[in-house]
Protein backbone atom coordinates (compact mmCIF):
# COMPACT_ATOMS: atom_id res chain seq x y z
CA UNK A 1 0.00 0.00 0.00
CA UNK A 2 1.44 3.37 -1.00
CA UNK A 3 1.84 6.10 1.62
CA UNK A 4 -0.79 8.22 -0.18
CA UNK A 5 -3.34 5.47 0.01
CA UNK A 6 -2.40 4.78 3.63
CA UNK A 7 -3.01 8.43 4.50
CA UNK A 8 -6.36 8.44 2.71
CA UNK A 9 -7.53 5.24 4.40
CA UNK A 10 -6.22 6.48 7.74
CA UNK A 11 -8.11 9.78 7.56
CA UNK A 12 -11.39 8.16 6.54
CA UNK A 13 -10.96 5.36 9.08
CA UNK A 14 -10.44 7.93 11.83
CA UNK A 15 -13.56 9.79 10.74
CA UNK A 16 -15.59 6.56 10.54
CA UNK A 17 -14.41 5.38 13.98
CA UNK A 18 -15.09 8.76 15.65
CA UNK A 19 -18.46 8.97 13.98
CA UNK A 20 -19.45 5.57 15.35
CA UNK A 21 -18.14 6.31 18.84
CA UNK A 22 -20.00 9.64 18.92
CA UNK A 23 -23.35 8.06 18.12
CA UNK A 24 -24.67 6.23 21.19
CA UNK A 25 -27.86 5.68 19.18
CA UNK A 26 -25.82 3.31 16.99
CA UNK A 27 -23.87 1.58 19.74
CA UNK A 28 -26.44 1.11 22.49
CA UNK A 29 -29.18 -0.69 20.49
CA UNK A 30 -26.54 -2.86 18.82
CA UNK A 31 -25.42 -4.03 22.27
CA UNK A 32 -28.67 -4.05 24.22
CA UNK A 33 -31.14 -5.47 21.71
CA UNK A 34 -29.31 -8.77 20.96
CA UNK A 35 -28.59 -9.30 24.68
CA UNK A 36 -32.24 -8.71 25.55
CA UNK A 37 -33.33 -11.29 22.97
CA UNK A 38 -30.66 -13.67 24.27
CA UNK A 39 -32.07 -13.33 27.80
CA UNK A 40 -35.67 -13.79 26.69
CA UNK A 41 -35.02 -16.68 24.30
CA UNK A 42 -32.71 -18.56 26.65
CA UNK A 43 -35.37 -18.29 29.36
CA UNK A 44 -38.36 -19.05 27.15
CA UNK A 45 -36.84 -21.91 25.20
CA UNK A 46 -34.96 -23.56 28.07
CA UNK A 47 -37.15 -26.66 27.79
CA UNK A 48 -36.09 -27.19 24.17
CA UNK A 49 -32.93 -28.77 25.59
CA UNK A 50 -35.17 -31.70 26.66
CA UNK A 51 -35.76 -32.58 23.01
CA UNK A 52 -33.91 -35.76 22.05
CA UNK A 53 -30.77 -34.88 20.10
CA UNK A 54 -30.39 -31.33 21.38
CA UNK A 55 -26.61 -30.76 21.46
CA UNK A 56 -26.32 -29.21 24.94
CA UNK A 57 -28.24 -28.98 28.19
CA UNK A 58 -27.78 -25.19 28.26
CA UNK A 59 -30.00 -23.25 25.87
CA UNK A 60 -28.08 -20.11 26.80
CA UNK A 61 -24.90 -21.63 25.35
CA UNK A 62 -26.77 -22.67 22.19
CA UNK A 63 -28.39 -19.23 21.82
CA UNK A 64 -25.20 -17.28 22.51
CA UNK A 65 -24.26 -17.67 18.83
CA UNK A 66 -27.25 -15.56 17.77
CA UNK A 67 -26.22 -12.11 19.15
CA UNK A 68 -23.08 -12.23 16.99
CA UNK A 69 -25.28 -12.51 13.91
CA UNK A 70 -27.70 -9.85 15.11
CA UNK A 71 -24.71 -7.59 15.69
CA UNK A 72 -23.73 -8.14 12.06
CA UNK A 73 -27.24 -7.09 11.05
CA UNK A 74 -26.77 -3.81 12.90
CA UNK A 75 -23.49 -3.37 11.04
CA UNK A 76 -25.33 -3.48 7.70
CA UNK A 77 -27.74 -0.81 8.86
CA UNK A 78 -25.19 1.44 10.57
CA UNK A 79 -22.57 1.35 7.82
CA UNK A 80 -25.17 1.84 5.11
CA UNK A 81 -26.94 4.66 6.94
CA UNK A 82 -23.67 6.53 7.56
CA UNK A 83 -22.69 6.36 3.91
CA UNK A 84 -26.22 7.27 2.79
CA UNK A 85 -26.01 10.35 5.01
CA UNK A 86 -22.73 11.30 3.31
CA UNK A 87 -24.50 10.99 -0.04
CA UNK A 88 -27.56 12.94 1.10
CA UNK A 89 -25.54 15.75 2.69
CA UNK A 90 -23.25 16.06 -0.33
CA UNK A 91 -20.13 14.95 1.55
CA UNK A 92 -19.49 12.25 -1.05
CA UNK A 93 -19.64 14.89 -3.78
CA UNK A 94 -16.90 16.82 -2.01
CA UNK A 95 -14.82 13.67 -1.68
CA UNK A 96 -15.32 13.08 -5.40
CA UNK A 97 -13.52 16.38 -6.08
CA UNK A 98 -10.41 15.11 -4.27
CA UNK A 99 -7.93 12.55 -5.63
CA UNK A 100 -9.34 10.01 -3.18
CA UNK A 101 -9.30 6.40 -4.35
CA UNK A 102 -12.45 4.30 -4.20
CA UNK A 103 -10.70 1.54 -2.29
CA UNK A 104 -9.63 4.04 0.37
CA UNK A 105 -13.14 5.35 0.75
CA UNK A 106 -14.71 1.89 1.16
CA UNK A 107 -11.97 0.57 3.46
CA UNK A 108 -12.10 3.69 5.60
CA UNK A 109 -15.87 3.51 5.95
CA UNK A 110 -15.63 -0.04 7.25
CA UNK A 111 -13.47 1.00 10.20
CA UNK A 112 -16.53 2.06 12.18
CA UNK A 113 -18.08 -1.37 11.53
CA UNK A 114 -14.84 -3.07 12.61
CA UNK A 115 -14.68 -1.09 15.83
CA UNK A 116 -18.34 -1.66 16.66
CA UNK A 117 -17.97 -5.36 15.75
CA UNK A 118 -15.10 -5.69 18.20
CA UNK A 119 -17.01 -3.99 21.04
CA UNK A 120 -20.09 -6.10 20.28
CA UNK A 121 -18.23 -9.42 20.17
CA UNK A 122 -16.38 -8.85 23.43
CA UNK A 123 -19.54 -7.63 25.19
CA UNK A 124 -21.73 -10.52 24.01
CA UNK A 125 -19.11 -13.07 24.97
CA UNK A 126 -18.44 -11.63 28.43
CA UNK A 127 -22.16 -11.21 29.22
CA UNK A 128 -22.92 -14.73 27.95
CA UNK A 129 -20.15 -16.33 30.00
CA UNK A 130 -21.05 -14.36 33.13
CA UNK A 131 -24.69 -15.46 32.69
CA UNK A 132 -23.57 -19.09 32.71
CA UNK A 133 -22.87 -20.07 29.10
CA UNK A 134 -20.20 -22.70 28.47
CA UNK A 135 -17.15 -22.32 26.23
CA UNK A 136 -15.48 -25.67 25.77
CA UNK A 137 -12.60 -24.31 23.68
CA UNK A 138 -11.41 -21.93 26.41
CA UNK A 139 -9.43 -18.73 25.86
CA UNK A 140 -8.32 -19.78 22.37
CA UNK A 141 -11.95 -20.35 21.40
CA UNK A 142 -12.90 -16.94 22.79
CA UNK A 143 -10.29 -15.27 20.58
CA UNK A 144 -11.50 -17.14 17.50
CA UNK A 145 -15.11 -16.21 18.33
CA UNK A 146 -14.15 -12.52 18.48
CA UNK A 147 -12.18 -12.82 15.23
CA UNK A 148 -15.04 -14.59 13.46
CA UNK A 149 -17.56 -12.08 14.75
CA UNK A 150 -15.52 -9.09 13.58
CA UNK A 151 -14.94 -10.74 10.18
CA UNK A 152 -18.68 -11.31 9.75
CA UNK A 153 -19.52 -7.78 10.92
CA UNK A 154 -17.11 -6.18 8.45
CA UNK A 155 -18.25 -8.52 5.67
CA UNK A 156 -21.93 -7.67 6.15
CA UNK A 157 -20.96 -4.00 6.47
CA UNK A 158 -19.93 -4.12 2.78
CA UNK A 159 -23.52 -5.04 1.92
CA UNK A 160 -24.66 -1.91 3.76
CA UNK A 161 -22.21 0.13 1.68
CA UNK A 162 -23.52 -1.44 -1.51
CA UNK A 163 -27.17 -0.70 -0.68
CA UNK A 164 -26.34 2.89 0.32
CA UNK A 165 -24.39 3.51 -2.89
CA UNK A 166 -27.11 2.00 -5.03
CA UNK A 167 -30.06 3.69 -3.34
CA UNK A 168 -28.44 6.86 -2.06
CA UNK A 169 -30.82 7.33 0.86
CA UNK A 170 -30.87 6.34 4.51
CA UNK A 171 -34.56 5.48 4.29
CA UNK A 172 -33.83 2.94 1.54
CA UNK A 173 -31.07 1.38 3.67
CA UNK A 174 -33.45 1.09 6.62
CA UNK A 175 -36.12 -0.47 4.43
CA UNK A 176 -33.68 -3.28 3.59
CA UNK A 177 -33.70 -4.35 7.24
CA UNK A 178 -36.50 -6.93 6.77
CA UNK A 179 -34.61 -8.52 3.87
CA UNK A 180 -31.54 -9.18 6.01
CA UNK A 181 -33.75 -10.09 8.95
CA UNK A 182 -35.25 -12.98 6.96
CA UNK A 183 -31.84 -14.59 6.60
CA UNK A 184 -31.50 -14.65 10.36
CA UNK A 185 -34.99 -15.86 11.10
CA UNK A 186 -35.15 -18.63 8.53
CA UNK A 187 -32.02 -20.32 9.79
CA UNK A 188 -31.04 -22.66 12.61
CA UNK A 189 -31.26 -19.67 14.93
CA UNK A 190 -33.64 -21.26 17.46
CA UNK A 191 -33.10 -24.99 16.97
CA UNK A 192 -30.38 -27.18 15.42
CA UNK A 193 -31.01 -28.10 11.78
CA UNK A 194 -31.64 -31.76 12.72
CA UNK A 195 -34.51 -30.78 15.03
CA UNK A 196 -36.37 -28.53 12.58
CA UNK A 197 -39.42 -30.61 11.72
CA UNK A 198 -41.17 -28.50 9.08
CA UNK A 199 -39.80 -29.80 5.79
CA UNK A 200 -39.71 -26.58 3.75
CA UNK A 201 -38.26 -24.64 6.70
CA UNK A 202 -35.57 -27.30 7.13
CA UNK A 203 -34.74 -27.10 3.43
CA UNK A 204 -34.48 -23.29 3.43
CA UNK A 205 -32.52 -23.19 6.69
CA UNK A 206 -30.12 -25.83 5.32
CA UNK A 207 -29.47 -23.68 2.24
CA UNK A 208 -29.13 -20.49 4.28
CA UNK A 209 -25.46 -19.55 4.90
CA UNK A 210 -26.43 -17.95 8.23
CA UNK A 211 -27.06 -21.46 9.63
CA UNK A 212 -23.41 -22.34 8.99
CA UNK A 213 -22.14 -19.08 10.46
CA UNK A 214 -24.14 -19.89 13.60
CA UNK A 215 -22.75 -23.42 13.56
CA UNK A 216 -19.18 -22.09 13.49
CA UNK A 217 -19.83 -20.17 16.72
CA UNK A 218 -21.68 -23.12 18.27
CA UNK A 219 -18.89 -25.54 17.44
CA UNK A 220 -16.52 -23.42 19.54
CA UNK A 221 -19.02 -22.99 22.36
CA UNK A 222 -20.40 -26.55 22.56
CA UNK A 223 -18.39 -29.14 20.62
CA UNK A 224 -14.72 -28.20 20.64
CA UNK A 225 -12.29 -27.50 17.80
CA UNK A 226 -14.14 -28.49 14.64
CA UNK A 227 -11.97 -27.23 11.79
CA UNK A 228 -14.57 -28.07 9.14
CA UNK A 229 -17.23 -25.88 10.79
CA UNK A 230 -14.74 -23.06 11.35
CA UNK A 231 -13.44 -23.19 7.78
CA UNK A 232 -17.00 -23.04 6.48
CA UNK A 233 -17.84 -20.10 8.76
CA UNK A 234 -14.77 -18.06 7.85
CA UNK A 235 -15.15 -19.08 4.18
CA UNK A 236 -18.72 -17.77 4.03
CA UNK A 237 -17.75 -14.53 5.80
CA UNK A 238 -14.86 -13.92 3.40
CA UNK A 239 -17.06 -14.72 0.39
CA UNK A 240 -19.64 -12.18 1.59
CA UNK A 241 -16.82 -9.66 2.03
CA UNK A 242 -15.45 -10.18 -1.49
CA UNK A 243 -18.91 -10.10 -3.10
CA UNK A 244 -19.97 -7.07 -1.04
CA UNK A 245 -16.78 -5.11 -1.78
CA UNK A 246 -17.00 -5.91 -5.50
CA UNK A 247 -20.62 -4.75 -5.67
CA UNK A 248 -19.89 -1.66 -3.57
CA UNK A 249 -16.85 -0.74 -5.72
CA UNK A 250 -18.90 -0.96 -8.90
CA UNK A 251 -21.72 1.08 -7.36
CA UNK A 252 -19.23 3.67 -6.13
CA UNK A 253 -17.93 4.15 -9.67
CA UNK A 254 -21.49 4.64 -10.94
CA UNK A 255 -22.33 6.97 -8.06
CA UNK A 256 -19.23 9.11 -8.64
CA UNK A 257 -19.91 9.30 -12.39
CA UNK A 258 -23.43 10.56 -11.53
CA UNK A 259 -21.96 13.28 -9.32
Amino acid sequence: MSSGLRTQVGQLARRSALRTLRQPAQIVPALVFPLFLLAVNSGGLKDATNLPGFPTDSYLTFALAVPFMQGALFSVMNTGTDLARDIETGFLNRLALTPLRGAALLSGLLTGALLLGLVQAITYLIVGLVAGAELVTGVGGALVIVLLSVTITVATGTLGLFVALRAGSGEAVQSMFPVFFVFLFISSMALPLDLIQTDWFHAVASANPVSYLLQAFRSLLIEGWNLGDLALGFGIALTVFVVGMTLASRSLKTRLVRT
Partner: protein, 264 residues
Protein backbone atom coordinates in the same frame (compact mmCIF):
# COMPACT_ATOMS: atom_id res chain seq x y z
CA UNK B 1 -76.22 26.06 22.50
CA UNK B 2 -78.12 23.25 20.93
CA UNK B 3 -76.57 24.18 17.57
CA UNK B 4 -73.09 23.96 19.07
CA UNK B 5 -73.77 20.62 20.72
CA UNK B 6 -75.10 19.28 17.42
CA UNK B 7 -72.09 20.46 15.46
CA UNK B 8 -69.43 19.11 17.82
CA UNK B 9 -69.87 15.41 17.13
CA UNK B 10 -69.99 16.11 13.42
CA UNK B 11 -66.71 18.02 13.66
CA UNK B 12 -65.14 15.20 15.60
CA UNK B 13 -66.30 12.68 12.99
CA UNK B 14 -65.24 14.88 10.10
CA UNK B 15 -61.74 15.37 11.55
CA UNK B 16 -61.37 11.71 12.43
CA UNK B 17 -62.61 10.68 8.98
CA UNK B 18 -60.25 13.02 7.16
CA UNK B 19 -57.20 12.00 9.20
CA UNK B 20 -58.07 8.32 8.86
CA UNK B 21 -58.64 8.60 5.12
CA UNK B 22 -55.27 10.27 4.52
CA UNK B 23 -53.40 7.77 6.74
CA UNK B 24 -55.07 4.78 5.10
CA UNK B 25 -54.44 6.24 1.64
CA UNK B 26 -50.77 6.75 2.48
CA UNK B 27 -50.52 3.23 3.85
CA UNK B 28 -52.19 1.53 0.90
CA UNK B 29 -50.52 3.70 -1.72
CA UNK B 30 -46.95 3.23 -0.58
CA UNK B 31 -45.43 -0.25 -0.81
CA UNK B 32 -42.70 0.85 1.63
CA UNK B 33 -45.39 1.00 4.34
CA UNK B 34 -47.73 -1.74 3.14
CA UNK B 35 -45.25 -4.53 2.46
CA UNK B 36 -43.39 -4.52 5.82
CA UNK B 37 -46.71 -4.31 7.71
CA UNK B 38 -47.83 -7.54 6.07
CA UNK B 39 -44.52 -9.31 5.63
CA UNK B 40 -43.08 -8.81 9.13
CA UNK B 41 -45.85 -10.71 10.97
CA UNK B 42 -45.56 -13.46 8.38
CA UNK B 43 -41.83 -13.71 9.05
CA UNK B 44 -42.46 -14.07 12.75
CA UNK B 45 -45.22 -16.59 12.19
CA UNK B 46 -43.05 -18.60 9.81
CA UNK B 47 -40.02 -18.50 12.08
CA UNK B 48 -41.92 -19.38 15.24
CA UNK B 49 -44.54 -21.82 13.96
CA UNK B 50 -42.32 -23.39 11.28
CA UNK B 51 -38.87 -23.25 12.83
CA UNK B 52 -39.88 -24.08 16.37
CA UNK B 53 -42.59 -26.68 15.73
CA UNK B 54 -40.45 -29.29 17.55
CA UNK B 55 -41.01 -27.29 20.74
CA UNK B 56 -44.55 -28.68 20.66
CA UNK B 57 -42.97 -32.06 21.53
CA UNK B 58 -41.35 -30.78 24.72
CA UNK B 59 -42.55 -32.81 27.73
CA UNK B 60 -45.42 -30.95 29.43
CA UNK B 61 -46.45 -29.00 26.32
CA UNK B 62 -50.09 -30.03 25.92
CA UNK B 63 -51.75 -27.25 23.91
CA UNK B 64 -54.66 -29.03 22.18
CA UNK B 65 -54.63 -27.08 18.89
CA UNK B 66 -50.93 -27.61 18.26
CA UNK B 67 -47.90 -25.35 18.01
CA UNK B 68 -49.04 -23.44 14.89
CA UNK B 69 -52.20 -22.18 16.64
CA UNK B 70 -50.20 -21.53 19.81
CA UNK B 71 -47.86 -19.21 17.92
CA UNK B 72 -50.61 -17.71 15.74
CA UNK B 73 -52.13 -16.04 18.81
CA UNK B 74 -48.82 -14.45 19.77
CA UNK B 75 -48.14 -13.20 16.24
CA UNK B 76 -51.71 -11.86 15.94
CA UNK B 77 -51.38 -9.83 19.14
CA UNK B 78 -47.85 -8.80 18.22
CA UNK B 79 -48.99 -7.53 14.81
CA UNK B 80 -51.84 -5.69 16.55
CA UNK B 81 -49.37 -3.95 18.84
CA UNK B 82 -46.84 -3.14 16.14
CA UNK B 83 -49.58 -1.88 13.81
CA UNK B 84 -50.26 0.71 16.49
CA UNK B 85 -46.58 1.53 16.92
CA UNK B 86 -46.05 1.98 13.18
CA UNK B 87 -49.01 4.37 13.13
CA UNK B 88 -47.12 6.32 15.79
CA UNK B 89 -44.19 6.55 13.35
CA UNK B 90 -46.61 8.07 10.83
CA UNK B 91 -47.79 10.63 13.39
CA UNK B 92 -44.18 11.57 14.17
CA UNK B 93 -43.45 11.91 10.45
CA UNK B 94 -46.51 14.17 10.04
CA UNK B 95 -45.10 16.42 12.76
CA UNK B 96 -41.65 16.45 11.14
CA UNK B 97 -42.98 17.57 7.77
CA UNK B 98 -45.38 20.06 9.36
CA UNK B 99 -48.55 18.32 8.20
CA UNK B 100 -49.70 17.64 11.75
CA UNK B 101 -49.54 21.37 12.47
CA UNK B 102 -52.00 21.90 9.65
CA UNK B 103 -54.27 19.31 11.29
CA UNK B 104 -54.01 21.23 14.56
CA UNK B 105 -54.90 24.49 12.84
CA UNK B 106 -57.79 23.09 10.83
CA UNK B 107 -59.45 20.71 13.31
CA UNK B 108 -62.35 22.10 15.30
CA UNK B 109 -62.18 19.14 17.66
CA UNK B 110 -58.59 17.99 17.89
CA UNK B 111 -59.44 14.75 19.67
CA UNK B 112 -60.63 13.72 16.23
CA UNK B 113 -56.99 13.69 15.09
CA UNK B 114 -56.16 10.90 17.53
CA UNK B 115 -59.38 9.07 16.66
CA UNK B 116 -58.49 9.32 12.97
CA UNK B 117 -55.03 7.86 13.46
CA UNK B 118 -56.52 5.10 15.65
CA UNK B 119 -59.08 4.25 12.95
CA UNK B 120 -56.32 4.07 10.35
CA UNK B 121 -54.26 1.82 12.63
CA UNK B 122 -57.21 -0.52 12.97
CA UNK B 123 -57.80 -0.67 9.21
CA UNK B 124 -54.15 -1.50 8.55
CA UNK B 125 -54.31 -4.13 11.31
CA UNK B 126 -57.37 -5.73 9.70
CA UNK B 127 -55.50 -6.01 6.40
CA UNK B 128 -52.51 -7.64 8.13
CA UNK B 129 -54.72 -10.02 10.12
CA UNK B 130 -56.63 -11.08 7.00
CA UNK B 131 -53.38 -12.11 5.27
CA UNK B 132 -51.95 -13.68 8.43
CA UNK B 133 -55.11 -15.70 9.09
CA UNK B 134 -55.28 -17.01 5.53
CA UNK B 135 -51.60 -18.02 5.62
CA UNK B 136 -52.07 -19.74 8.99
CA UNK B 137 -55.11 -21.69 7.77
CA UNK B 138 -53.31 -22.69 4.57
CA UNK B 139 -50.37 -23.82 6.75
CA UNK B 140 -52.76 -26.19 8.50
CA UNK B 141 -53.57 -24.34 11.70
CA UNK B 142 -56.05 -26.26 13.82
CA UNK B 143 -58.85 -24.02 15.13
CA UNK B 144 -60.74 -25.60 18.02
CA UNK B 145 -62.76 -22.54 19.05
CA UNK B 146 -66.20 -21.62 17.74
CA UNK B 147 -67.40 -18.36 16.20
CA UNK B 148 -67.89 -16.48 19.48
CA UNK B 149 -64.49 -17.57 20.75
CA UNK B 150 -62.75 -16.48 17.57
CA UNK B 151 -64.58 -13.17 17.83
CA UNK B 152 -63.21 -12.90 21.36
CA UNK B 153 -59.68 -13.49 20.06
CA UNK B 154 -59.95 -10.77 17.40
CA UNK B 155 -61.70 -8.50 19.95
CA UNK B 156 -58.62 -8.77 22.16
CA UNK B 157 -56.43 -7.98 19.16
CA UNK B 158 -58.49 -4.86 18.41
CA UNK B 159 -58.05 -3.62 21.99
CA UNK B 160 -54.30 -4.34 21.90
CA UNK B 161 -54.06 -2.40 18.63
CA UNK B 162 -55.93 0.53 20.17
CA UNK B 163 -53.71 0.50 23.27
CA UNK B 164 -50.50 0.49 21.22
CA UNK B 165 -51.77 3.26 18.94
CA UNK B 166 -52.67 5.48 21.89
CA UNK B 167 -49.29 4.79 23.52
CA UNK B 168 -47.37 5.57 20.32
CA UNK B 169 -49.53 8.63 19.59
CA UNK B 170 -48.77 9.98 23.07
CA UNK B 171 -45.03 9.56 22.48
CA UNK B 172 -45.15 10.89 18.91
CA UNK B 173 -47.04 14.02 19.97
CA UNK B 174 -44.59 14.71 22.77
CA UNK B 175 -41.39 14.07 20.79
CA UNK B 176 -42.79 15.23 17.41
CA UNK B 177 -39.91 13.55 15.54
CA UNK B 178 -39.26 10.12 14.08
CA UNK B 179 -36.28 10.00 16.45
CA UNK B 180 -38.86 9.06 19.06
CA UNK B 181 -39.35 5.77 17.18
CA UNK B 182 -37.27 3.58 19.54
CA UNK B 183 -39.17 5.05 22.49
CA UNK B 184 -42.46 3.94 20.92
CA UNK B 185 -41.19 0.55 19.83
CA UNK B 186 -38.89 -0.76 22.53
CA UNK B 187 -41.31 -0.83 25.52
CA UNK B 188 -43.89 -2.62 23.36
CA UNK B 189 -41.30 -5.12 22.19
CA UNK B 190 -40.13 -5.61 25.76
CA UNK B 191 -43.56 -6.28 27.26
CA UNK B 192 -44.53 -8.63 24.43
CA UNK B 193 -41.41 -10.77 24.66
CA UNK B 194 -41.46 -10.92 28.45
CA UNK B 195 -44.63 -13.00 28.18
CA UNK B 196 -44.88 -16.78 27.50
CA UNK B 197 -44.00 -16.51 23.80
CA UNK B 198 -42.65 -19.98 23.02
CA UNK B 199 -44.13 -22.24 25.70
CA UNK B 200 -47.00 -21.90 28.20
CA UNK B 201 -46.36 -20.11 31.49
CA UNK B 202 -46.31 -23.42 33.36
CA UNK B 203 -43.21 -24.52 31.41
CA UNK B 204 -41.26 -21.34 32.08
CA UNK B 205 -38.87 -21.23 35.01
CA UNK B 206 -36.52 -18.80 36.71
CA UNK B 207 -36.64 -15.03 36.23
CA UNK B 208 -38.65 -15.21 32.99
CA UNK B 209 -41.45 -17.09 34.82
CA UNK B 210 -41.49 -14.46 37.58
CA UNK B 211 -41.67 -11.59 35.08
CA UNK B 212 -44.21 -13.32 32.83
CA UNK B 213 -46.44 -14.08 35.82
CA UNK B 214 -46.97 -10.37 36.50
CA UNK B 215 -46.91 -9.23 32.86
CA UNK B 216 -50.45 -8.23 31.75
CA UNK B 217 -49.72 -9.52 28.24
CA UNK B 218 -49.58 -13.05 29.70
CA UNK B 219 -53.31 -12.93 30.49
CA UNK B 220 -54.06 -11.66 26.98
CA UNK B 221 -52.02 -14.46 25.43
CA UNK B 222 -53.53 -17.14 27.66
CA UNK B 223 -57.05 -15.94 26.91
CA UNK B 224 -56.31 -15.74 23.18
CA UNK B 225 -54.84 -19.25 23.18
CA UNK B 226 -57.85 -20.46 25.15
CA UNK B 227 -60.17 -18.97 22.55
CA UNK B 228 -58.42 -20.55 19.58
CA UNK B 229 -58.31 -23.98 21.19
CA UNK B 230 -61.97 -23.82 22.26
CA UNK B 231 -61.07 -23.88 25.94
CA UNK B 232 -61.61 -20.30 27.17
CA UNK B 233 -59.50 -19.32 30.16
CA UNK B 234 -58.85 -16.10 32.15
CA UNK B 235 -61.35 -14.34 29.86
CA UNK B 236 -62.63 -11.83 32.45
CA UNK B 237 -59.11 -10.86 33.52
CA UNK B 238 -57.91 -10.52 29.94
CA UNK B 239 -60.80 -8.28 28.90
CA UNK B 240 -60.51 -6.23 32.09
CA UNK B 241 -56.86 -5.57 31.19
CA UNK B 242 -57.59 -5.07 27.51
CA UNK B 243 -60.31 -2.48 28.25
CA UNK B 244 -58.45 -0.68 31.04
CA UNK B 245 -55.28 -0.16 29.03
CA UNK B 246 -56.84 1.89 26.18
CA UNK B 247 -58.68 4.00 28.74
CA UNK B 248 -55.42 4.80 30.52
CA UNK B 249 -53.49 5.38 27.32
CA UNK B 250 -56.21 7.64 25.92
CA UNK B 251 -55.30 10.00 28.80
CA UNK B 252 -51.63 9.63 27.80
CA UNK B 253 -52.46 10.43 24.16
CA UNK B 254 -54.67 13.37 25.18
CA UNK B 255 -51.76 14.72 27.24
CA UNK B 256 -49.51 14.36 24.20
CA UNK B 257 -52.01 16.27 22.09
CA UNK B 258 -52.05 19.09 24.66
CA UNK B 259 -48.23 19.21 24.56
CA UNK B 260 -48.34 19.44 20.77
CA UNK B 261 -50.96 22.19 20.96
CA UNK B 262 -48.82 24.14 23.42
CA UNK B 263 -45.71 23.72 21.28
CA UNK B 264 -47.68 25.04 18.29
Amino acid sequence: MSGTSERKPASFRAVAGAVAWRSIHNFLGNPAFLVPAIVFPLFFFTAFAGGLSAVGNVPGFDFPSGYTAFQFVFVLLQSAAFGGVFTGFGIARDFEIGFANRYLLAASDRRGIIAGYATAALVRAFITWAVLTVVALVAGMDVGGGGVEILGLYGLAVLVNLTATLWAAGVAMRVRSIQGGPLMQFPVFLILFLAPVYVPLSLLSGWIHTVASVNPVTALLEAGRGFISGDPTVVALAFAIAITLPVLFSLWARGGLRRAETAG
